[in-house]
């Protein structure tokens, strides 16, 4: 991985009572790239972010962020990171302008810097119209732009975005990602968590988390190419019966209906998968077209996190 690493974790674990929220995580996040965390709710994304910011102490393991060991050196990295929390955490009863000014002051910017950067971020994130509006009266997308603008006021080399787009529409999401690529061009390293596949596909690298553990890691295309499953597509008249028949078949991990098609993930060890599926359907007296299909990131995700029969 050509570039040097902005974040390195080793054996990183965090336990809350009986819950192992993060389980033995080894990560290397390269500089000046977008690194994605993909995982269902409760998979430990936020907990990992919090440990990377020094907000939570790891139960075990080591964290190195921009050359500083955490949690001991937590205060040293404060001005080096911008953190956008999962829940909106600016002040709802302050206006857009007041929130930005407050964050600029808290980051210790000089009066000049404050004026210039607040003005710039109002423009860059299309917030000028709302500068006098309280944050509680902003839409989801506006609020998210405000949070991003606030996290960037001090120009941090590392940006941590915890599910930044979970409450916004697709167009706003696209704009948001354009803004992220701008930042990458300026050398910022971005760590972003998501559960949207289309967003995950846009990351340079991706870590797929499930129940606290790392189940897959790599570039999106690499992950798709190395998928640990066979993907089969089935079309036919009676999708409901097809589905019922296949769900009982050994070696079928997962079935997803996509419009008038069925998408099946099969154990990669399955011998001649198309024939096997065709045979099973014929035995049940069902008519269907069966073919090998190209895998997508969603399939990678399902293959990595889905329940496998033991």
């Amino acid at each position: 991985m050509g570039a040097s690493a902005a974040i390195v974790t080793q054996n990183l674990s965090r336990r809350f009572g009986a819950v192992l929220a993060v389980d033995d995580l080894h990560l290397q996040v390269p500089e000046a790239q977008i690194y994605g965390f993909l995982g269902p709710n409760g998979s430990g994304k936020s907990t990992t972010f919090r440990m990377l910011c020094g907000l939570l102490k790891p139960t075990a393991g080591e964290v190195d962020v921009l050359g500083h060991r955490l949690p001991g050196d937590a205060e040293r990295i404060r001005s080096l990171i911008g953190y956008m929390t999962q829940q909106f955490s600016l002040y709802r009863d302050l206006t857009v302008l007041e929130n930005l000014q407050f964050m600029a002051q808290i980051q210790g910017l000089s009066r000049r810097e404050r004026r210039d950067r607040v003005r710039h971020s109002l423009r860059a994130y299309r917030l000028e119209r709302y500068r006098k509006r309280r944050a509680e009266h902003l839409s989801g997308g506006e609020r998210q732009r405000l949070a991003l603008a606030a996290a960037l006021l001090h120009r941090p080399p590392l940006l941590l975005l915890d599910e930044p787009t979970s409450a916004v529409d697709p167009q706003t999401r696209r704009d948001f990602w354009d803004a992220l690529f701008e930042l990458i061009n300026q050398g910022t390293t971005i760590l972003v968590s998501t559960h949207y596949m289309d967003e995950a596909e846009r990351c340079h690298r991706l870590a797929i988390l499930d129940r606290g553990g790392l189940v897959a890691e790599g570039e999106p295309l690499e992950l798709i190419g190395n998928i640990d499953a066979t993907v089969i597509e089935i079309t036919g008249a009676d999708l409901k019966s097809l589905r019922e028949t296949l769900s009982g078949l050994r070696g079928v991990w997962n079935l997803t209906q996509l419009g008038s098609r069925l998408h099946a993930l099969l154990d990669p060890g399955t011998d001649r998968p198309v024939e096997r599926v065709q045979g099973a359907l014929a035995n049940a007296g069902l008519q269907a077209n069966v073919s090998i299909a190209e895998a997508g990131l969603e399939d990678v995700f399902v293959a990595a996190t889905g329940k496998r029969p033991s």
Binding site: R50, L55, S79, S89, E98, M103, I106, Q107, G108
Partner: protein, 375 residues
Amino acid sequence: MNGIRRMWAVALKEFRQLARDRLTFAMVIGIPLILITLFGYAINMDVRNLRAGIADQAGTQTSRRLVADLTATQVIAPVRQAATADELERMLLGNEIVVGIFIPRDFERRLQDPNREAAQLLVDATDPLIPGIVSAVADMPFALREHGATQRMVPRTGRSQQGSLFSMRQFYNPEGRSAVMIVPGTIGVILTFTMVLFTSIAIVRERERGNLELLITTPVRSIELMLGKIIPYIFIGLLQVSLILSAAVFLFDVPLRGTLLDLYVASLAYVVAVLGFGLLISTIAKVQFQAFQLTFFLLLPSILLSGFIFPFDGMPQPAQYFAQALPLTHFIVLVRGILLKGAELADLLLPLQKLGILFVISMSLAMLRFRKRLD
């Protein structure tokens, strides 16, 4: 330099939020005014109109004269007539009356006999104040005094049959008005309540709303955050002092014998001390409701043990030691001294220093407890 800038940023933000939060703002003004009115009027030790029952079995001119004299004090107000002492007891039991006056059939004869009580007072002693008040009334020099009757009316006061040995001279509050005794301390009680309440929720609220998670990833230091949070409340505390003081002087005629400057300096010391306690609570409580509970946990002993209601010197030693840890104890000394005795701060350096010490201790503990972490 950066630290001071960040502290002011926090203070300014806190000011803005406060100005926008109508409920809190109404509490800033409303709580002091309501409490001072309640305390000033309701905590009234000049007790009047105690409901009394009369059983006058003698029915002579002298006995009627005794009842009329007692009534004239306005301390008691006859509301019931009874035939026997038993009937009076039943009325006491049913809370129809709190005082019973029993005048036996042989009242006139008893009056002549210095060894027997002429009449009997039945008193509801479940209220801590009433027995003392009634016995004081019984000792008053009534017109009957020439008969030597009243001293012998009260069987269990244990006083000399010759009447009081001592004459009492009351200092600073010669009229014995309770507003004068109660209102200055009330300033302290109200400030404890409002200041601790406001600051104790200050950090808890940010935690609940998620603001803290962002705030502690910034370079702001604990001390900057803490001091920034209490600065607005210092101003609010002094504003409240002014409000309560105006009410005290204009509504309750409380004298201001010392200087206003001394009073504000003492109040400032007190306000910062209680703010320190509020912050400490804020670092202990997990949710606002706990902050609320802890505030009352501090308020109750403050009211009971500070000398606000019960004389400090009359408390047992351990209670006195404990009360040293309560800011109100020292403020009561300061405020009564300045308002009522006309003392100067130079006379009151010790309580002032103790407030300073309490501030330093509570702030240090708050800072030790506050971690820039979520766990």
